[in-house]
Symmetry: C2
Subunit: 417 residues, 2 copies
């Protein structure tokens, strides 16, 4: 069987494929594996109850049930959902948006596939453009979505060492000089994998930089604001007509409904929707149907702020405390957790590197993600890439604690302690 060059690009092993395969295999083959690898969200009882109740109400109403199950969504997504969401974004966040600024996707990964390939890749006259990532580590799933090579460009971040074995990456604005081949600037906020949150001033600087170069600023808000609001610092929800915000229902506890949301100026929404129609025909209705019900009842933001945010804030604090205890005295540091649901552990000079560490942990029943694939666009060699791990603390308290204890033990062995 001979496969195409596309197959080689999209059919080979990749960080995100390994990640999702690990996640799937662990669930189905190793029911006892402590899952600190993939991005499955935690279980928030109040949220689960509410989703089931609202979905039951949709099923009990023949017209709503038919709208959810029996019809194709139009290219930009369900009208009622887009209107309800636009109203909330106007009223609660002060964004100057209407339904025309919103499009739905089958999860944010496929939104990024389209957006990145709209703004970067091959251009007229043999020119090539890239997506500029101001801060790596950055989301593992970006790495392979480019239809051609050189889709991303990134420089090393500045590293700020903080007390208590913490550290924080900082955008090195001095190095950040987009040239004509930058097609867009993109950041995740909070950052997956580090839990870093770019401050309002940093976002303002990136926004100005994007405008000055006539390119959009894309903000991946999968963990961000206004929902799911997995943020532990004071953060303003940023949008303007040069910003593309990508939101998602997944981290509200709904990854199975595959619902991403693009908020952008209308010409971008239109270009996205045309490409998405060819690639996917239409998006799923279940996520928008549920979200519309939550918006109609005024429950979406309340849920995020009153249940999702504190759930992860507490888990972050407990996981940080436990991991800090384990690494005391070792040459390890934890990225200051400001949002999302991960601890990013830097094991300086770890013998054999963090990929081997990940393998050993898997053998011991703890699934984490090695750091090396979280640096899309960084070309220069950097040993730091092979010294980091991403640990999710979204799962059950007790299991996370057990996982952290095994990680600590394995680290001490690794350093020969």
């Amino acid at each position: 069987m001979e496969l195409s060059l596309f197959a080689r690009r999209f059919g080979g092993d990749s960080g995100v494929v390994d990640l999702m395969r690990d996640l799937g295999e662990a669930v189905s083959i190793h029911p006892d594996m402590i899952m600190m690898g993939g991005g499955n969200p935690g279980r928030v009882p109040a949220a689960e109850r509410l989703y089931r109740e609202r979905l039951r109400a949709v099923l009990d109403d023949p017209a709503l049930a038919h709208g959810m199950l029996g019809v194709y969504q139009s290219p930009r997504g369900d009208e009622r959902f887009r209107a309800a969401l636009a109203r909330m974004l106007r009223e609660e966040c002060g964004w100057a948006v209407g339904p025309e600024n919103i499009a739905v996707s089958n999860g944010s990964q496929s939104a990024f596939f389209v957006l990145f390939n709209l703004f970067a890749g091959a251009f007229d006259g043999g020119r090539r453009k890239h997506i500029l990532l101001p801060l790596v580590p950055e989301y593992i799933g970006y790495r392979e979505v480019g239809l051609s090579d050189g889709m991303f460009r990134a420089e090393r971040p500045a590293i700020e060492r903080l007390p208590g074995q913490l550290f924080k990456y900082r955008v090195d604005f001095g190095q950040l000089a987009p040239d004509d081949s930058a097609g867009a600037i993109c950041v995740s906020r909070p950052t997956n994998p580090t839990g870093n949150v770019l401050g309002d001033a940093e976002i303002a600087r990136l926004d100005a930089l994007a405008r000055a170069h006539g390119i959009p600023l894309i903000i991946d808000g999968a963990y961000g604001t206004p929902f799911p609001h997995m943020l532990f610092t004071q953060t303003t929800a940023h949008w303007n007509d040069n910003t593309v915000v990508v939101l998602s229902l997944s981290k509200l506890g709904l990854p199975g409904l595959r619902t991403g949301i693009i908020v952008a100026r209308e010409e971008i929404v239109a270009a996205y929707a045309r490409a998405n129609t060819i690639l996917s025909l239409a998006c799923g209705n279940a996520g928008p149907a549920l979200a519309t019900a939550l918006l109609d009842h005024g429950e979406l933001l309340a849920l995020a702020r009153e249940h999702i945010a504190p759930f992860y804030r507490d888990k972050a604090a407990r996981a940080l405390e436990a991991l800090r205890r384990e690494i005391a005295g070792l040459p390890c540091r934890i990225h200051k957790p400001e949002g999302a649901m991960f601890l990013w552990l830097w094991c300086e000079g770890i013998p054999g590197g963090s990929h081997a560490l990940y393998q050993r942990l898997k053998q011991r029943g703890v699934l984490v993600v090695p750091g090396r694939d979280f640096f899309p666009g960084l070309i220069e060699p950097w040993e730091h890439r092979d010294e980091c791990l991403r640990l999710s603390y979204a799962q059950d308290e007790e299991r996370v604690r057990a996982g952290i204890a095994i990680i600590g033990d394995e680290l001490r062995r690794s350093y020969g302690g």
Copy 2:
């Protein structure tokens, strides 16, 4: 805003984008439009009741509800669903398949995007391959999914004129000579848009031809067998290790759940799943959760055979009778309806062509699809392309009859009768 060459390819107007926009606009802006355009399935009360009941049961079970809403599916799709489906395909269709031969997609359109680009497009050494379509007209949604030009190749079909103003396209096996640049052979069965059904002997010939050239035969079973079984002729469900069958839940009445299914030998399933993970991260869980419940209760095939098939068979017969009455005496013919949910109308020598006819019908409140974009891969000019219309008869009886009456009236005016 400067967009990439990808944006030009995937962001321009296209047949399927027009189709889905028409569908969306008509639903939201013209509630009175008679919808004979897009592919929304009909409403089968027994099916709707069953889906709602089974989904309610999933929501009532906390573990099942969490499996549907709260976790990411593994790259090939939910294990339980794939096991249950494989068992049914083995027992009911005699296919030699296990769960390893099955992968899930977010609807069959995105499955075809991946499959076509795996088997055709750019290859090592600057070579290019195409998907060979033995019979056009063929599905409008294929046309633009290629990442490069020349993705499809097709020749004119033979036309058999039948009594009663009917006709039927036939594969012209004499012209069908794949060369080294054919990467796969693909047919939809039943054919969207014509309602043609390739007979078992024709499929056997295509299967032998594909094997002889070492390329797979892809069968798009979105309307076919074993489900939804919108077939009005005796047809065997074909699969072997050189066949890729793509199934879908959409025409069972579930397009809102975006669930496509690939059945293929394992190396193809693996290549598909890797690419799909990069493009989509994971597939939706709602369709697989519902289908698993139907399979566990032994209801999926029974529903297709006892409710879906007769529903469309009756609608086809009534629509055919009504349209035949309208075109009596006009130089029009209807493709013999053997499956799916469309009448394909050939208006020989229609003044101004069928695209203008489609526009006039839209003005009069009837939405149909003009024929010209249903000939992917056909390079030579052929006036026949601009003489055809696709009419869906899936919607309410009375509205379909009213639509057909307007179409008849407009045809008589068009021919100056």
